[in-house]
């Protein structure tokens, strides 16, 4: 009982102290949130992304049919054919169910490579930008070689040599996305490194590690995050392109790019149905692009 009263008294004191502070003072992230709150376009597309993610995660619960269940009698049916709202494919499988399940692959390919590339590329970029000198030059010139390839060509080169499959596709996308993220992190870090407050921290005896984490990393995080968010849509487009070329997941697995590629044979039979998987890619890609634009504005990062 007495314990409780002590904690509640401490909480009350805390509240009092907070009330004494002027209300309008917000931190950086507070400002970001404040700007996002009134950006209805970004919020709408953020909601759309949430819907897409949830419908992919809960695909087994909401999909009207088993995505792999073929039916010889109901091949290539049009939109709104009985309960097959988006029609059926060349094996009589329900397109809507396959799109819902296919979202799992596409979102995985959009998010996992970007996260890995952000960590790896960001780490190399921060090290290169902070240390500069010979190590920095070595890292950045190494990355320059990858910039000598258009991204699609690099992806096709690696993926085409490694062969298809989900793991190979993840490796390919990560390799393609790491150099640009490294460059953004390096630029941000080397700009921060030359600022006065870093010198001040060093003069007051802060260690390199503590300067890196408390001063450099926290300031480099916004440009890197904003750039990483623009890459999600790029990664989804690239992944679906690779799948379209047959360099993605193997056939029975539902995947938007792969569906588009197999349905292409049927454009003379069911033209509208064949365009559906691509529409899913387009909507997802637009949503991620607009949210990343909104983030860029809210975080006040220049393009």
């Amino acid at each position: 009982m007495s314990d409780l009263s002590i904690t509640s008294r401490a909480a009350a004191a805390e509240e009092e102290r907070e009330a004494a502070l002027p209300r309008h003072v917000r931190g950086y992230w507070g400002n970001v949130w404040q700007r996002l709150r009134y950006d209805y376009v970004t919020l709408f597309f953020l909601g759309l992304i949430a819907v897409i993610v949830l419908s992919a995660v809960f695909a087994p619960l909401i999909a009207p049919f088993d995505p792999d269940k073929a039916s010889m009698a109901h091949r290539l049916k049009p939109l709104f054919f009985h309960t097959n709202i988006l029609g059926t494919d060349e094996q009589g499988r329900d397109i809507l169910s396959r799109i819902l399940y296919g979202g799992r692959t596409s979102l995985l390919m959009g998010i996992v490579p970007v996260v890995v590339a952000t960590v790896v590329g960001g780490l190399f970029g921060v090290v290169a930008g902070y240390l500069g000198g010979r190590v920095g030059t070595l890292i950045m010139r190494g990355m320059d070689v990858f910039f000598a390839f258009p991204s699609v060509l690099l992806a096709v080169a690696i993926s085409g040599s490694l062969g298809g499959g989900m793991i190979n596709q993840l490796i390919t996308l990560t390799v393609v996305l790491t150099p640009p993220l490294c460059r953004v992190a390096e630029t941000a870090t080397s700009q921060i490194r030359s600022m006065d407050f870093v010198d001040a921290a060093r003069a007051s005896g802060a260690s390199t590690i503590s300067i890196l984490f408390h001063h450099v990393l926290v300031n480099a995080v916004s440009p890197v995050l904003v750039y990483a968010s623009t890459l999600v849509s790029a990664s989804i487009l690239l992944a679906s392109g690779l799948s379209f070329l047959g360099l993605g997941v193997s056939p029975p697995t539902p995947d938007w790019g792969l569906m588009l590629s197999t349905l292409r044979q049927a454009i003379y039979v069911q033209p509208v149905v064949c365009a559906m998987p691509g529409l899913a890619i387009l909507i997802t890609s637009i949503a991620f692009n607009l949210v990343s634009d909104g983030l860029r504005q809210a975080m006040d990062v220049k393009a």
């Binding site: 000598a148 790019g257 033209p271 890619i281 387009l282």
Partner: protein
């Protein structure tokens, strides 16, 4: 400026070498040993021995690389497994089909993007700005291969106006841009290729032009009574180097990254060649095509950088 040009030229050498290292490494990325990937599956033991000798595959990897590099520098990119033709011949023939559609697309994208970008940047926040920005977002979000399939569905299947695939009845060897019956088969590939660079170039134009328009000297121009057109002309000259740099980058992307669109339209260019190499696991063809395309991209970047320095007196690099 000449000093910068010389330095920029020198910088290209290590990058070019790096590109060859990556291309060389592709053989080792492929599953199985390189001899298998360089020869058809029914190769005899004698063939394998001959090939090992010819490529020096019994030597250590750095030596192998130098031998391969020597061959590549003299234009010997190996023999395609599928067609038994020298890879270089295949690639140059395909490039002749890719370059025209890539150049036309990027110019088309540039012209439209410049128009939309000027409209948007002079009316930031207005209705026209929003429409132009929406077009740009659509451009960068649309999967080019899906757009290709959709164009085929609408203009070939439903309306029957344009041929769905190929280069017309005459084939790629006798294709003429001046006969509509053949040139019309290039219309859809060009549209599908234009959309992505259009979006990117429009965003670049809008942001760099808006940045210039916010500078003080624009205020001065307005104060002395210059009209909207005059101001835009002044501003565009300042924003142009940035836009031109993006233009060059996009041209390189189209030449190197046309694989999806060319696959959709079976347009016999380098992208289609790459797709063929992947499907048949023709590693020499894959490696050679990628090497040529990456080198083309490096060269385009070099030319753009040098042009930029020549065009913009403010850039005094070096």
């Amino acid at each position: 400026m000449w000093l910068y040009a010389a330095r920029r030229l020198l910088m290209t050498i290590p990058i070019g070498l790096g590109v060859t290292v990556i291309c060389f490494a592709l053989i080792y990325l492929a599953p199985g040993n390189p001899v298998q990937s360089l020869l058809p599956p029914d190769a005899t033991a004698k063939d394998i021995a001959e090939l090992k000798h010819a490529y020096g595959l019994d030597k250590p990897i750095p030596i192998q690389y130098l031998i391969w590099l020597g061959h590549a520098l003299t234009g010997n990119l190996g023999i395609s497994i599928q067609t038994n033709q020298p890879v270089l011949n295949e690639v140059t023939r395909a490039l002749a089909n890719t370059i025209p559609i890539a150049v036309i697309s990027v110019i088309l994208a540039f012209v439209i993007a410049l128009g939309l970008g000027i409209l948007a940047a002079t009316r930031v926040g207005g209705v026209l700005d929003r429409i132009a920005t929406a077009i740009a977002v659509l451009g960068i979000s649309v999967p080019s291969f899906w757009l290709g399939v959709t164009l085929v569905i609408v203009f070939a299947v439903m309306l029957g106006w344009l041929p769905a695939t190929g280069m017309g009845s005459a084939g790629s060897d006798h294709f003429s841009w001046f006969r509509w019956s053949e040139a019309k088969s290039a219309v859809m590939p060009i549209i599908a290729l234009t959309v992505t660079p259009l979006g990117i170039l429009m965003r670049t134009t809008r942001s760099s032009l808006a940045e210039v328009l916010a500078l003080d000297f624009i205020q001065t121009l307005r104060a002395k009574g210059l009209g909207r057109t005059g101001i835009v002309v002044h501003a565009i000259r300042n924003a142009l180097p940035q836009i031109l740099a993006m233009f060059g980058l996009q041209l390189g992307y189209l030449i190197g990254g046309s694989i999806l669109v060319e696959t959709v339209f079976t347009w016999p260019g380098t992208g289609f060649l790459l797709n063929k190499a992947i499907l048949t696991r023709d590693i020499p063809l894959l490696q050679g095509t990628i090497l040529v395309l990456a080198m083309a991209f490096v060269l385009i970047n070099l030319v753009v950088d040098l042009l930029q320095t020549a065009v913009d007196p403010r850039i005094k690099r070096g």
